[in-house]
Symmetry: C2
Subunit: 345 residues, 2 copies
């Protein structure tokens, strides 16, 4: 089979690798039908922060079909169509039980030393705990439906986590920092939790256009001190619910600066740099969030997608066949695409 491997900064290639096989009785092997490229895949792609080993596997977002199951797998059968969150988890430990699957004591992330999502198949540890079976009526040959569901592997759930972490409630005013795929999904998440007013901070016309269709009511294109001043003009003392979807120190410090004293920043951007916390300290602003336990959110979000109430698919603005995966990375790296869907099989 073929899988996408890391050969060095800005050099990923689809190459022949050994077929995956069951190793533990809790494993499944899944043939991938759809995969996505994530903004966070750009860290290893660029050789920054998350440095991958040579020939590390790429990708953590995929849908597929169960090809084989270990003896202890009880909830899945060969031929089931499944969705995976971007992390695997046993489904039984104390953290999984409380919905924090990303802290599973047996869990881990796809890619690098583990199998990756951007290939034709992969071994899935703890298949019962990790995979969610798609209902029989789901037709993955429906490209729009497949794209909607593919967003649930990561960005839609991560945006939801931002809104949940920021304690967005019916009638809230929320501010979303960042107009990448996660920021756009955070707009959807804030609207889904009932926010009345959603201000998005971003500067890309095409992305802000999607934000408006997702429910953003205001946009702030300025950054830094000007952006902070503009949000304060719109909100008075700042917003009690800020959704931070970038992760740089500047973005997190902006999120704190536009948060109302006593309010909450829900942060889901990976934070590689140290962050100044004096403003949060001075105004008793809570920082809540982190890597999203998407496994916990997929059932509800999938139900909303299947019921026609939720469509995050516009964030997938470029669809390519798997053998053009390198072009997909380049398009996202150069910001020609927000997010890439790879059609695998």
């Amino acid at each position: 089979m073929r899988a996408t491997l890391f050969f060095g900064p800005h050099d990923v290639r689809l190459v022949e690798v050994p077929d995956p096989h069951l190793q533990d009785p809790t494993d499944a092997v899944v043939r991938v039908t759809h995969a996505c490229i994530c903004g966070s895949d750009l860290w290893p792609y660029r050789g920054e922060f998350f440095k991958y080993r040579d020939n590390g596997r790429m990708g953590h977002e995929f849908l597929g079909v169960v090809d084989s199951v270990g003896a202890d797998v009880s909830t899945l059968r060969v031929g089931d169509r499944v969705i995976a969150p971007f992390a695997f988890s046993d489904g039984t430990c104390a953290f999984c039980q409380q919905g924090l699957h990303t802290s599973c004591v047996h869990g881990g992330y796809w890619g690098n030393a583990n199998d990756g999502g951007q290939g034709e198949a992969l071994r899935v540890p703890y298949a019962d705990g990790t995979l969610i079976r798609l209902p029989d009526e789901v037709d993955l040959s429906d490209q729009h439906l497949a794209a909607m569901i593919a967003t649930l592997t990561d960005v839609a759930g991560t945006g939801h986590h931002a809104a949940l972490s920021a304690e967005v409630r019916p009638g809230s005013t929320a501010v979303v920092v960042g107009d990448g795929a996660v920021g756009l999904c955070a707009v959807l998440g804030a609207r889904r939790l009932g926010a009345d007013r959603i201000i998005i901070m971003g500067r890309h016309d095409s992305r802000l256009a999607i934000a408006r269709t997702f429910g953003a009511t205001d946009e702030v294109r300025e950054r830094g001190a000007e952006g902070i001043a503009r949000v304060r003009e719109l909100t008075g003392e700042g917003s009690a619910h800020v959704l931070e979807c970038v992760g740089t120190a500047q973005a997190i410090e902006t999120a704190i600066a536009i948060c109302r004293p006593g309010g909450t920043v829900g942060h889901v951007g990976l934070p590689p740099e140290p962050v100044g916390l004096m403003a949060a300290y001075s105004a008793n602003i809570t920082l809540r969030g982190g890597v999203a336990p998407v496994r916990a959110y997929i059932p509800d979000l999938l139900a909303d997608v299947l019921a026609g109430r939720l469509d995050p698919s516009p964030v997938l603005d470029l669809t390519l066949p798997l053998d053009q995966v390198a072009d997909g990375y380049a398009a996202m790296d150069e910001r020609h695409a927000i997010k890439v869907l790879l059609e695998v099989a």
Copy 2:
């Protein structure tokens, strides 16, 4: 009258200054009976971080007697004994109404350009909103009682804020990072909120002895990686309730590292340095807290002190007359004293 002024790093002096007088109809003038030196006074004393202007006023913790009141002051009369929190506040704005007096739209902090607590008298803005009248039966000539009440101006309320921010509940296991006056009061705060097990991280014998009398059940003397490993030995996956009472990047990063995934760090240490947040992101650890709205907490804590249920006074391990204020600073700067009580009148 005399007040303590900043003359330069490591140089504070009690000098003659003009008497304070009413400026606004909401003011009171208070004659100080007791003041304290705070660990945070050491920032300007050392010329670090909070740099004070030449001749800036020192001190933000005091008890006293109302000497005069403006025409609009309705809750206080001349002769009332009062306690002030370390910040003044109007008592009426939206933030005061929600108990976040440190974010009062008209509020501010004692000292530097404002009058300070380490003097014989001071002007108190928004006297109705700021000061709390002590019951008639309180005898401030009772040194022990005065010391207990003096801690409520800052450290006792700040320790309570750490416990509240860390969501300590009956039966919790809590870890307190730091054995300064605030850390010790955080032990009291955690016990008061019902923690069953309280682990304190510190390394000073005399302070840890007080921590045990305050309710600490375990102590961890190691720092850094060793300290983290030791707390994990004691708690398994870490504690869901960590009370950070130092503020350095190392202390906050330690607090995050010993926090159970999904748990909460209640932080009250002033954080001058940028803080690495990757571990908080990876484990969805909430950072909540900041500068304590002590004004909101004084009534309940005072009731507990007067009922004999709460005694934070052991943190005041050195009592000096006001004219030895410089010795008091030196004793705290050199760690010969945990915290100094100044007898003023």
